[in-house]
Symmetry: C2
Subunit: 357 residues, 2 copies
């Protein structure tokens, strides 16, 4: 396992070390916008079948790297594998997103919720990571990930996607002790899950707090941020002599950047509703920033994509600590050629714009 990492731009940028150009990867880069992904997905059967077959998960993880000069791979999986391993039974309804067969419906359900044996119930993720690391052969680093406790809890309580999170919010307001019991169990499980991913070969990890932005500022600190900080402090931050950086991404939580930066993580994902200049002013030198192009820019023409990539790089400005990404996942309707324009533009513009200060 002593394969040398040929491109370590991502790891260096996440640790705020100087780089010659800005590394770029794209949230959901292995996804439905790629025809080859749709083909493998059709071959696999269900979405969960695809996640649970290490060779196929590896294949779709590598697909975007064959097309684009990306600086990282992210293991193909789903944020909801943990609740599935806890017995809620995840399935997908076409056009409606994820659902659980057995959502949490009472304090008793929360109390009885098992702490899953990671190796046994989520071994397929570790296998996919190991296979993918072997296939990558040191080309670029591999990112592991999990959903945040709060984000997982919303799906587990609502039974699927939600508009207003009415049930999850009622729980935190009416029965905060039950909510804390649930979030504590989830935080411990996420910690063990990410450590197992690191052990299996993940070289950086990201926690996706997709629904942190649904909470009030006070509730966010109490029910989301606190548990992410607990995860960060429990992670094995070094593997085979190299630091494993941790990225926290709380969508819609830009008013919380300072608090997030104080969590002990290495980098923050930033959505597109704040300029990187402003985000950088707010967090100072404490963390790197990852983002933050509006994903819909990929629907615009080539000139607009290049212009917006340049504006994003300029907004961050010179110096270390930027990883280029979208402000959220790439959407299925994007023409893959447009992503190529983005990746090439980051390569073209960043050496001049992000030169060391």
């Amino acid at each position: 396992m002593a394969v040398e990492l040929k491109n370590d731009l991502l790891l260096r940028a996440l640790c705020r070390e100087p780089v010659d150009r800005t590394p770029v990867w794209i949230m959901r880069q292995a996804g439905r916008y790629l025809p080859e992904y749709r083909a493998t997905r059709a071959e696999a059967g269900s979405f969960m079948d695809l996640c649970q077959a290490p060779e196929l998960a590896c294949e779709v993880t590598l697909q975007p790297l064959r097309r684009f000069d990306l600086d990282a791979a992210i293991i193909f999986s789903d944020i909801l594998t943990i609740p599935d391993a806890m017995g809620l039974k995840l399935y997908f309804v076409a056009g409606e997103g994820p659902r659980f067969e057995f959502p949490l419906q009472s304090p008793e359900d929360v109390r009885r919720l098992p702490r899953p044996d990671i190796a046994e119930s989520l071994g397929y993720v570790m296998d996919a990571i190991a296979v993918t690391r072997r296939e990558l052969d040191g080309k670029v680093p591999l990112i592991g990930f999990s959903g945040s406790p709060w984000t997982l809890a919303t799906y587990m309580i609502e039974g699927g996607s939600s508009k207003n999170f009415s049930k999850a919010k009622r729980l935190i307001y009416d029965q905060p002790a039950v909510a804390h019991e649930l979030l504590g169990k989830l935080a411990d499980t996420v910690t063990a899950y990410l450590n197992a991913q690191i052990e299996s070969g993940a070289q950086a990890v990201q926690v996706f707090d997709t629904w942190g932005g649904a909470l009030s500022a006070a509730a966010y600190e109490e029910f989301s941020l606190r548990y992410m900080a607990r995860i960060v402090s429990g992670l094995d931050r070094e593997s085979r002599g190299r630091r494993v950086p941790v990225i926290l991404f709380s969508k819609g939580c830009n008013t919380q950047l300072e608090a997030l930066a104080a969590s002990g993580c290495d980098a923050l994902g930033v959505d597109w509703t704040i300029s990187l200049a402003e985000a950088r002013r707010r967090v100072g030198a404490r963390v790197a920033l990852q983002g933050n192009l509006d994903p819909t820019v990929l629907l615009a023409d080539h000139g607009a994509i290049r212009r917006e990539v340049e504006a994003t790089l300029s907004s961050f400005g010179p110096g270390e600590g930027h990883v280029f990404n979208l402000g959220h996942g790439i959407t299925p309707e994007v023409d893959p050629e447009h992503l190529g324009v983005l990746v090439d533009a980051v390569r073209e513009f960043s050496p001049a714009l992000h030169r060391p200060r």
Copy 2:
């Protein structure tokens, strides 16, 4: 028309004058959570029939005031009356929200878009305001409103509600000049529309920028904020010897509070993802703040509602310039009794918590 205003708490708070207790009104207070609203709505026929019948619009505007000790009425109408008056023909599909029969599909559609004669095409709104002022008889002030140019533009381009605003975003990125032509026409029309509302008796006005938060920071300044500032500067800010305060509410735009406060408006609506303490630190003494309880708190039990009302008032702290409201509209599933608990709690707690400094 020289009826004395018996309760001017709202107008005083919006102008940052001292008040004995914090005024409260609720976005969408005349709405589906009230059985009497659903009855009048059923009687009226379509949603637009209800908007366009001044006596019925007045009736539903007054309904929440009969139940709760609210400090303002807001005229019952819809943010999409302007595009309807421009010929796009608004209709509603049950469970799916607003739709336009003739959405904008080309630059030519934008060029041809008429500047409507407000008195002729939107006279029903002015009539409803005049009738409602008469019926209110000075009990509380009446608020007028409009959608913001950007928010109106999204519906006009997408043809209805949207998840990613793909078409509207493509327009601003690929054809910014066309977008500016559209937004300029809308800003002028909104200005004339709000001035007509003021002329007819609206004592404060609010601009709802419901979808400002979908834009990147740079695009927000160029395509939304700029046009709201143009509206603010074109409004008749005095009527019958009294200032008519202007409230801007850009949902999901808390990173833009400083810029919004510099627009010349009197007050900012604030959603629940930032604490009022932080919002107040950011805007200083330039504007009043309106908000910002998470609407889902109204689904929680009485104790939780009272606790969260108190926390919201405490977060703003002592001194002038707060109007209590939710951070977004009240939702249909709320038990009206819960809103009563909220309104009473604001009356009970605010005299001590918002005492003049």
